[in-house]
């Protein structure tokens, strides 16, 4: 195996941003016909390494050779021309165009009169089909499909380029188990055709399932390159976080279901809440100290239900009671006033305010509830920022950086801090652990449990059934934009309970 000639060799890569050395002399070697994973915590420098290779960032020191030739790409286009196809961590597609156009952009099929749209859309269809997206019409506007599907579209797009190197930065973060398997099937096929694949994921199971070789980074430094099959999990975790695996905070067994007194009133009680075309009327109640999980497949309407609860979309039917009082939550401002907070799954478009600092991003929601002309006193603000930076373990621990310069996982932590700072009674978390490293994931799960035990109501939306089952008291199961079941969590409930419920329930439309 070792006598294979590498296709990409990166040596001593150093990249410095004002104030941080994101990469410090990192090596990476990719071999054809192998899946290679970049491993490391949030902010370790994985995405930066990928951007260095594809010419998005200029390197400050080091060398890159592709197929033996020294290369200095001046942007993705150059990298593409050299046979490197990339799907970046944040989905980068154009929401103003259709799905098909996005897949084929830059590679449209041409006829005698320029682009031949019929052929192009047909081609798009076949690529979409490869990704298991045969049900999506290429003419659908991209903006109308969920983030997860957009992720798949982005991967389909990478397939169009006949690449020698395929780079996938956290492609599985928003996919459910089935889709991950579909994706792996494709990756195997591509790998076997002799393509080198660079893969990033925070799911160790996936890493052990699909990869051949690992490069481990920590704090922008190269730690080691190893073969996957020779490396036990604890050793890998140890290398990634710099301490032994045992020290990782562990969450015990499944949460015990919170008993509800017969006379107790729920915080939130909705009846028939719905919006035409997005989610059919749903009944739901959430008690203080309860974690309610939303489970369902991609596009089942979990996000839409969360948004309705928060007033991000205006419901067009239903009754909404909050602590026994009838309210109408028509916009986020009202929701926040009523102590409801919602952390979005779409971090880039609806979450972070990119050019503002981490500090401002933490404070902004609290500030909005207090009103524009009542600034939070500096002392109080400092305390809040300090508290949540520490609590969420945001790195780098500098609150005065623009949030857009943080790694994806750290952005997510800051956002959760933002919502906690408003002291909500009901906190809706939509995919809060997406893109978060194993250490931090456990931390966030712990935070959820702590919050609940202090009396907060939590809605927990996640594509990972495992964590839904582990954290929730009640699980609402959704399918095709209908609530199909409400499962009281207990010893008999497991992931398969939910999967079966979904499979065996038919939704009348």
């Amino acid at each position: 195996m070792t006598d294979k000639t590498p296709i990409v060799v990166m040596k001593g890569i150093t990249i410095e941003f004002p104030g941080v050395k994101a990469l410090d002399g990192v090596d990476l070697t990719l071999y054809p016909g192998e899946v290679h994973a970049l491993m490391g915590e949030n902010g370790a420098g994985k995405s930066t390494m990928i951007k260095a290779l594809t010419g998005v960032y200029k390197i400050d020191a080091g060398s890159i050779t592709v197929e033996g030739k020294p290369q200095q790409f001046n942007g993705t286009l150059d990298a593409q021309n050299a046979g490197i196809a990339t799907v970046y961590q944040e989905v980068n597609l154009c929401t103003n165009l259709s799905v098909g156009e996005n897949v084929m952009l830059g590679h449209e099929k041409r006829g005698p009169f320029g682009i031949d749209w019929k052929k192009t859309h047909e081609a798009a269809k076949t690529y979409l089909k490869q990704m298991g997206l045969e049900h999506i019409d290429p003419h659908t506007p991209l903006s109308s499909i969920s983030i997860a599907m957009q992720q798949l579209v982005a991967i389909a797009r990478a397939m169009v380029i006949n690449a020698k190197v395929l780079i996938l930065d956290e492609p599985t973060s928003s996919l459910d188990a089935n889709e991950v398997q579909d994706l792996f099937a494709i990756m195997r096929k591509v790998r076997d055709s002799g393509v080198a694949i660079l893969f990033v994921s925070h799911f160790l199971d996936q890493i052990y399932e699909i990869t051949d070789r690992l490069t481990i980074l920590r704090n922008g430094k190269f730690i080691k390159e190893v073969m996957t099959k020779d490396t036990p999990r604890d050793e890998l975790i140890g290398m990634m976080i710099g301490k032994s695996a045992e020290e990782l905070s562990q969450i015990g067994a499944k949460k015990a279901r919170r008993a509800i007194d017969p006379g107790e009133k729920p915080i939130v009680d909705v009846k028939g809440l719905g919006k035409k075309g997005t989610i059919n009327p749903v009944d739901l109640d959430i008690y203080a100290g309860e974690v309610v999980g939303f489970a369902g497949l991609l596009g089942s309407g979990r996000t839409e239900l969360g948004r309705l609860l928060y007033g991000a979309d205006k419901p067009d039917s239903g009754k909404y009671e909050l602590n026994g009082k009838q309210v109408s939550i028509n916009d986020p401002a009202t929701a926040l006033k009523n102590k409801i907070a919602y952390s979005t799954e779409n971090r880039r478009d609806e979450g972070i305010i990119g050019d503002l600092t981490v500090r401002q991003n933490i404070l902004i929601a609290l500030q909005a509830t207090r009103g524009m002309f009542k600034p939070i006193p500096k002392k109080e603000a400092d305390a809040i920022v300090d508290k949540y930076m520490k609590e969420m373990n945001v790195r780098p621990a500098d609150p005065d950086r623009p949030i857009k310069n943080l790694s994806g996982g750290n952005q997510q932590k800051v956002l959760i801090g933002r919502w906690l700072a408003t002291h909500p009674e009901l906190l809706i978390l939509d995919e809060p652990t997406r893109g978060i490293d194993i250490g931090a994931k456990a931390e966030i799960q712990q935070v959820v449990l702590d919050l609940a035990s202090k009396g907060m109501g939590v809605v927990f939306i996640s594509s990972e059934l495992e964590e839904v089952v582990r954290l929730s008291d009640d699980i609402e199961v959704l399918k095709d934009r209908h609530k199909i079941a409400e499962i009281e969590n207990g010893d008999t409930v497991s992931q398969s309970t939910i999967v079966e419920t979904i499979a065996n329930t038919n939704v009348k439309n």
């Binding site: 400050d60 080091g62 991000a312 401002a333 050019d355 902004i364 509830t369 002309f373 600034p375």
Partner: protein, 356 residues
């Protein structure tokens, strides 16, 4: 300890170098130098007993800059929300027309000033309502208001260039544009005070942050409980109000409104001042100080044109050249030239090392 201090020093130095304002100030100084070379008395100041203030080229330049300061400040806030206000020039004309017409109609001078400000504010509010609540595009909305505002000014004066020079009792207004405070032009002082007030309003409350948030990502802002519509409405209203003050400066200086010329093309100057000051037309972070220096630069360019005696036919070309030079100086490519060179050198040496 000493090391740290050293580091801080270099940091401050680096920050200064990378700031837009530094480039602006350099440009301003260069323009002043250029003028001084052509006209040795350019920097000379004298006391004018006639007006009770300092006199000299720099003073007239500051006097002219007052109106740019006003519209550039409003424009900064609007641009920060990723909008644009093309109507400021017309609002100047409307406000000026209202004041002059009211004065000739025998209205009390303070009432006339108030009337002008209210009208400016009202036009701003209409802009704001159309953009925020009807969701129209700022460019086209304020373009329409630019057309309609000019018409409104004509309606107010029945198409005349109303002249209030000889109206008795209008001294306060005249003083606003022509008077002096401690020898410094009153309008410049007033303008600077207003800019500082707006600055304090933005930075001491959360207004500035909210405006920037809306400009950076309106949807994310909405999700944090900010009401983007209110913010949008607010910035256009402020812009209208400040444009009215600028209109008073422009008309009171000659106590006459010119329905066609007052404020003509000034929206472009204001936008230039804002962009030179480092606020992006795509919205987001804004710098009022940058815009203020930008406004003074615009006045200085116009002064330079007069001082150098540039042929009136060539004026626009000269203006263009100066603006291009300033913007190119601010380009990251040019500014980071030394850093870029250093990086290239480091890369070369590391490549050599790899080869060896």
């Amino acid at each position: 300890m000493a090391d740290k201090k050293q580091e801080e020093k270099t940091n401050v130095f680096k920050k200064l170098l990378s700031s837009n304002i530094t480039v602006e100030v350099i440009a301003l100084i260069l323009l002043i130098l250029l003028c001084t070379v052509f006209d040795h008395a350019f920097l000379a100041l004298s006391w004018n007993d006639n007006t009770g203030g300092l006199a000299g080229p720099i003073i007239t330049m500051l006097q002219e800059s007052a109106r740019y300061l006003m519209i550039a400040t409003g424009m900064t806030l609007v641009i920060s929300t990723a909008g644009i206000d093309l109507s400021v020039g017309s609002v100047m004309a409307v406000a000026g027309a209202a004041a002059m017409q009211a004065l000739t109609g025998g209205m009390n001078v303070w009432a006339a000033i108030l009337l002008a400000l209210v009208i400016g504010l009202a036009v701003g509010c209409i802009n704001g309502a159309l953009v925020a609540f009807l969701g129209l595009q700022p460019f086209i909305t304020t373009l329409i208001m630019m057309l309609a505002g000019r018409g409104l000014a004509k309606v107010i004066t029945s198409g005349e260039n109303t002249d209030a020079t000889s109206v008795a009792g209008s001294e306060p207004l005249k003083w606003m544009a022509n008077g002096f405070i401690l020898g410094i032009p009153a309008n410049f002082v007033i303008a600077v005070v207003i800019v500082i007030l707006v600055g304090l309003l933005c930075r001491k409350t959360a207004m500035g942050m909210f405006i920037e948030a809306v400009g950076i990502n309106p949807e994310a802002s909405r999700m944090t409980g900010i009401k983007p519509k209110q913010i949008l409405f607010l910035v256009y209203a402020i812009s209208g109000f400040l444009a009215a003050i600028a209109g008073l400066f422009a008309t009171a200086s000659v106590m006459r409104v010119d329905v066609v010329k007052t404020g003509q093309d000034l929206e472009m100057y204001a936008i230039l001042a804002v962009v030179i000051g480092g606020t992006s037309l795509l919205g987001g972070k804004f710098s009022l100080a940058g815009s203020a220096v930008g406004a003074v630069i615009i006045a200085m360019i116009r002064k330079t044109i007069i001082t150098l005696g540039i042929d009136s036919a060539a004026t626009p070309a000269f203006f263009a050249v100066v603006v291009i030079v300033i913007c190119v100086m601010q380009a990251p490519k040019v500014r980071n030239l030394s850093a870029e060179l250093k990086r290239k050198r480091a890369l070369k040496s590391s490549e050599k090392a790899v080869a060896a």
